[in-house]
Symmetry: C2
Subunit: 154 residues, 2 copies
Amino acid sequence: MVDETHRDEEEEHLARQLKARGLRPTRQRLALAKLLFGRGHRHVAAEELYQEARQAGVSVSLATVYNTLHQFTRAGLLSEVVVGSGQSYFDTHVGSHWHFFDKTTGEILDIPEDAIAFARLPAPPPGKVIDRIDVVIRVRRAEPVPEQPLGRED
Amino acid sequence: MVDETHRDEEEEHLARQLKARGLRPTRQRLALAKLLFGRGHRHVAAEELYQEARQAGVSVSLATVYNTLHQFTRAGLLSEVVVGSGQSYFDTHVGSHWHFFDKTTGEILDIPEDAIAFARLPAPPPGKVIDRIDVVIRVRRAEPVPEQPLGRED
DNA sequence: ATTTGTGCAAATCGTTTGCATCTGA
DNA sequence: TCAGATGCAAACGATTTGCACAAAT
């Protein structure tokens, strides 16, 4: 389903990007890059991207997916999204940004950049500079939860 | 080093707190509560608290530390701080507040509530309510990092 | 030909769980 | 007494690592 020898324009572009950042444009890196950057913003977990890649007929191992995700992150092509201590998500959006997160369902929703604005921000601690600002708005279903009557403790 | 039978005023207070929230004031819960709440605000990881407890001569297992941390969190005595996907931190400060986080050193610093103000916030997705808002300002040392000269990738 | 990347499986890390034993009210 | 807690060790899921093999320049 995929022509292994010929690179289309998109691949050429990606290949150049990778080279420019010191990453050899290997088959799997190109394929993953294509999945990641080919269709607008996305957040993916390693396992997820791994499945996608395999379904797309790309021969790649989970370890390589992890490696690649981290290399891309180091190269500034991805950023890591931390919403819970379970697993890591990687976001094709690199700047500061925001998310809704429902821990009961695990879903992460993007919040458009301009939907949050700060009226006041602290200066970084002495000797530090701000790298980026993450905002996670934790939400839950608006339903039951009448009131927990003390004594709940599993 | 610790009198097992007599409870000082602090312990009585903590014991009452726990009871009021449906948690039996057991030896280890009291000891952990004392470590957690005895000296102002703190963020601790489970492993950390575990070590502290043992050094304080408290006989407690790591599993119980985890249990207790979660029970306290459920009871509203602690809040979980998510800054990285590695491990969980628990914060004795329960109200809304924010954090600086330096991933290179692992340090977490509190940001007072009033140091951040929002000029605009999004409405929660339909059917959801906002549980709480987490803000993590990621920082790093303001020094070296002159510019990564391409080609770094190890 | 060299150097760098990849795949696999085993190893690690933080955290959770199952179950027998103990403890507090 | 007896429900609820605890300790231990095994189980777990996500991620990392070591090393032989393969691919890119």
